[in-house]
């Protein structure tokens, strides 16, 4: 990455452009399969989310339908956006970025088509199965028992292919993104298999289940989505503004401290619960230590961007990515503070947690994935984005929507917690207090959904060949002519 423009001869540049084109061509089919199914599940997940959200303040909506009862829709939503959208987008990121950074083509794409098909079958079985009444009520792992084998097989293929690309690398220099991706494709199958095994295939006794459940639920964010998204930001930000990452050492510290501490942080979901006290304490320590990787990444991204903020105006990919990177810092700081006893005793069991989860899964992970799509898709299809208006709609709906969402539920959740902890406040008052916050959340969700529809239209138009042929840089800014 650190090679500057001047060091490259005309000849080298032409050669590396040809090499990039060959790599992108090898990725086109499989990566677009994962990307387009991700977009599909994003839309499906948004609809389910909206429905669940409305149901909290309009309980009579579709009340006669067993299929659309709140609990089922809530479970189906999480599978659609978690195992569907965010995971499929992460797979697209892993494959494409690994090929680019290793300067290696994707081989045997047929197996990846198979993986894409299996994954989609898995998500479909999960979502439809839950709606029809087979949901498992294990948060993050609600998929009925017949769905996970499909994910496991697909995940196995994806992980193996990511590693295989890495092993065939022509680029001797290892970039930090590759560390993150390798970690992610190694950790995710591990946590997923352990959780499936200990909760469903050979169920552990009593409260060991929720312990495993939150070890999974927290790590799926911390050691799957986070490394992929942070790794993607580490690629996109320097690439788009055309200068190397500020500090190599900071990025290494960030990586290893994330690996060590994040994995310990999950038990605060069970604070005050029927588990040994030392477990929650260990997780509090883990959460506090998370300041280290977060500050490392924040400094690194900020320093890389310094002096280049004006580019946010031109590059949609950069805008989404930087929004996501800033949210990463925010959500992690918030997460560490939430491990403090007085805070966590207030917000436990409230909608504050829902707000926090969406700050992580949406404002951070999803926004960076949007950034990646805006950068990656034109390079795979050879077409520019057809409409800058659609992209603007997408960005502002997403940015304003998620901010509104977060603020409304954080305030609502905080006071919900204060009232719940005071036994003199009748439960009816708490429900009444939350109603306007839920309504605001629905409006925010509506905005997010409009953004997603704009995004999906852009995406389909691009696949269908609208938009002009790509000639070098992406639509809204001129890419600095340079290297790999």
């Amino acid at each position: 990455m650190a090679v500057t423009v001047a060091e490259m001869s005309q000849h080298d540049r032409a050669k590396s452009a040809a090499e990039r084109a060959a790599i992108d061509a090898s990725c086109r089919g499989p990566v677009l399969v994962f990307a387009s199914s991700a977009v599909f599940w994003l839309l499906a997940g948004s609809m389910l989310a909206l429905l669940a959200s409305v149901k909290l303040h309009v309980p009579y909506l579709f009340t006669g339908s067993a299929e659309l009862t709140f609990g089922r829709v809530r479970m189906a939503h999480l599978q659609a956006v978690g195992i569907g959208w965010a995971s499929l987008a992460s797979v697209a990121a892993c494959l494409w970025l690994m090929c680019r950074l290793s300067r290696a083509e994707l081989i045997y794409p047929k197996m990846l088509y198979l993986a894409g098909a299996l994954w989609n079958i898995g998500v479909s079985l999960a979502v439809v199965g839950i709606i029809l009444g087979d949901g498992q009520s294990v948060e993050w792992l609600d998929a009925p028992p017949y769905a996970p084998p499909f994910f496991v097989a697909a995940l196995g293929i994806v992980s193996a292919w990511t590693v295989a690309v890495f092993r065939r690398r022509r680029e001797p220099h290892l970039y930090v993104t590759q560390w993150y991706l390798l970690g992610a494709v190694f950790w995710f199958p591990w946590i997923y298999l352990v959780a499936q095994f200990m909760i469903f295939w050979s169920p552990a006794v009593g409260v060991v289940q929720p312990i495993v459940n939150w070890w999974f639920g927290h790590n799926v964010l911390g050691l799957w989505f986070t490394p992929v998204a942070v790794g993607t930001a580490y690629y996109l930000i320097p690439k788009i503004i055309g200068r190397p990452v500020h500090s190599y050492y900071l990025s290494i510290i960030g990586f290893w401290s994330l690996a060590l501490f994040y994995s310990w942080a999950g038990m605060h979901h069970l604070i005050g619960g029927p588990i040994p006290a030392w477990l929650a304490t260990a997780s509090t320590v883990g959460s506090m230590m998370m300041f280290i990787p977060v500050i490392a990444v924040a400094i690194n991204h900020h320093m890389t961007l310094l002096g280049h903020f004006h580019r946010l105006r031109y590059s949609p990919a950069l805008r989404f990515t930087v929004f996501g990177a800033i949210s990463y810092t925010l959500v992690s700081f918030q997460g560490s503070l939430m491990a403090l006893k007085s805070v966590s005793e207030t917000v436990h069991f409230t909608h504050y947690i829902v707000a926090h989860a969406h700050l992580g899964a949406y404002a951070f992970v999803t926004m960076i994935m949007f950034g990646l799509f805006y950068y990656m898709i034109p390079r795979l299809t050879g077409r520019e984005w057809a409409s800058s208006v659609l992209i603007r709609i997408h960005f502002w709906c997403a940015a304003v929507g998620i901010t509104t969402y977060f603020v409304a539920l954080s305030i609502g959740g905080w006071w919900q917690g204060r009232m719940m902890n005071n036994p003199d406040v009748p439960f009816a008052n708490i429900v009444a207090y939350l109603l306007p916050h839920w309504l605001t959340r629905t409006l925010a969700g509506l905005m997010l959904t409009i953004g997603h529809v704009a995004f999906a239209i852009s995406f389909v138009m691009n696949l269908a060949g609208w938009g002009k042929q790509r000639s070098g840089g992406p639509t809204f800014f001129v890419e600095p002519e340079k290297k790999t």
Partner: protein, 272 residues
Amino acid sequence: MDRGIVIFLGALLTFSSSWLGLVVFPFRQLGQEQPYQKDEGDIPYPQPLQGLALAGMRVYQHNGCMYCHTQQVRSEKFGDWWDANGEHKTGADIKRSYGLRRTVSRDYIYDNPTMLGTMRTGPDLANIGVRNPSEPWHHTHLLNPRSANSWSIMPSFAFLYAREKIVGSRSDKALSLAREWTVDPGYRWRPSAKEWEAILARQGDSLVAQYTAGQPAAIDITTTEGKKRLLEFWLTTPEEEYQVVPKAEGEALVAYLLALRKAEFPLPEAKE
């Protein structure tokens, strides 16, 4: 050494620490817990769910009640609050009658899946079978929670109930609810103005007779005011020809709710 191997080993080691600490160790520590028996001959606590209650647990699981209801009671020291005099207190759960003590791991040894829950959009249900042991109440509440608490936002679970024509006499299991709740199960029904006129035309006189039997004040159904008052009265009477009864799933779910009696039985480890 190959850089890839370094990353692999590093990722393995860092992550193994949490796997061993947070998964394997608790598994060994908590996996062997036995039911509690104070003296020889006592019935051990807890007892596994059986029969109808077990089937009801599945209904609870598959419909995601857990996403609005927890099943865990936190200790007397959990959470700060200040009473009307500004005095600092803790421990709302027990004061809200969610249980006599906090729940501990032993309460859950027979739960599978263990649905502790993470969200209290509704109240905790760990001891609901003790807190509210009324079977008819649970049925009317599940059919339409607003029939019990007008402010509730809990979904109606009308699909666990069937509305059927009464043949012979009313079933013992029929919910004793007024017609506004049973005509269109799950919703709160009102006739349209036209429908109400038709009903009045058909049986107005007998309704007036019924009304004045309970309540001597005369009513004049030629006025709008009188019609309205009679309608309000009529809506609170049960349907004559139809009844709403729980389906098998509804009966099972209530059996499960009544079997939820955690945090009541004293356990030595749950003293504070």
